[in-house]
Symmetry: C2
Subunit: 297 residues, 2 copies
Amino acid sequence: MTTPSHAITVGLIQKACTGDRAQNQASLDAAIRKTAAQGARLILLQELHDSLYFCQTEDTEGFDLAESIPGPSSERLGRLAAELKVVIVASLFERRAPGLYHNTAVVLDSDGSLAGRYRKMHIPDDPGYYEKFYFTPGDLGFRPVQTSIGKLGVLVCWDQWYPEAARLMALAGAEILLYPTAIGWNPADEAAEQQRQLDAWITIQRAHAVANGLPLISANRVGFEDDPSHQTQGARFWGHSMICGPQGEILAQAGTEETILTARIDRQRTEEVRRIWPFFRDRRIDAYGALLKRYDD
Amino acid sequence: MTTPSHAITVGLIQKACTGDRAQNQASLDAAIRKTAAQGARLILLQELHDSLYFCQTEDTEGFDLAESIPGPSSERLGRLAAELKVVIVASLFERRAPGLYHNTAVVLDSDGSLAGRYRKMHIPDDPGYYEKFYFTPGDLGFRPVQTSIGKLGVLVCWDQWYPEAARLMALAGAEILLYPTAIGWNPADEAAEQQRQLDAWITIQRAHAVANGLPLISANRVGFEDDPSHQTQGARFWGHSMICGPQGEILAQAGTEETILTARIDRQRTEEVRRIWPFFRDRRIDAYGALLKRYDD
């Protein structure tokens, strides 16, 4: 038994991917070992880390990449989690039934068990990001996963644009917000637009930390991936993975290279920050009804 | 009739206040004229601009500052709005009935009429900001105010920490988010904490613009105001008023001095931004029910 501590080191892995699944997994496993060696007790992986971002096109062969959960990937990562005594948050393409697939984050606890899963609730769809073709919207709701190091509010990529998702995780007791993600620039966009998009992405995630008084970890992919259909100019994944404290302060942030990032998070800070900024005390739940509407017209 | 245009110049006034109400009003009126002369068709004033921030202490004499709406201040500002042909968003201490007061924003249309009001919904209370003593929580909900230049989503200060408030205004059709505010540093806090607080405040407001694809204007006060009770070290209002575009990009921002800020807002950008980031399309309203709970335990 280690002494309980309010502070833990958390880590994330920001990587480029290739079309070779075995190679992606081998380099990921090596990076997980390195991150653990740097003291991380919680390690977040980026979205769909075992493959290229296959949603650039709609192709039924893409479903061959999916696997069941539990399954080979969750079991391999579970063994690694147990060996290294770390909690791993991974991102898998889940095959639930024939013709029924999800974009699912899995949480492997430090004893190797599957502590829980989260099925991506908000599914994007725009040119080069055809996720509505592949992923059935999640049906497990916004429920944090209990682990040996606390309740993890795991969300995935497009969820990161929704304050509702972060708030619901916080209301359900999440102690850390985590976002595996795969987002990049469209090379056809001008530089100013690319900068606005990156800034917006950083800003809104920091704001989820602020609004909820929670630390936050976001792991993004890097590298250029060509569009197999050549209908777009491909995607340049913008990296900038980050670890924030509960006032949205950036504790560590990557650039656009492959990076292992670690930072020390003091979970006691949430209590302190929520005492000086008691947003939860003053929510006007009597007047929030229209949040459940599509549009209030 | 002027030609309709997607772009308008908006402005805000960031000021220090004194204990002399007539002086505050005279300097404010002069600043409004200047802002209009710079081409602003919409002018946002800071929170409780006619007085010192009286909520530093709980004192029943503070209620003497309140007035009815319509009343002398809304009428004076209405005349000014009509003369200058601008929309003015002001912040008043509303006396609604004996013993019933609100922190209320009023919208004066460019014909001088009172287009509508918003009563602050989220009321803070912490040492030096004893607002729960003075202000009954708003009972008008989160409804934008229709004006000659569009639907204004007016919120006030503490509301700015709540993604729910901004979202509700957007769902109800707001075209611009506006925040009169009065927030400052506690001089007793260390510099790093002060910086985190300011950054968090800027970040979360920019994020409301991002989440909703709306431009945003936030007007804060500046200057040091002593605590009459000497129980705290007073408040140093941190300024940094800003105008953002619908991707949260800062178009103009003040520092800690008295400032008139203007920027050009292109309302057509909201349509464009919401097409590339269609967050409203994908909200999981079927799974947001717990947003109406105090805590999901």
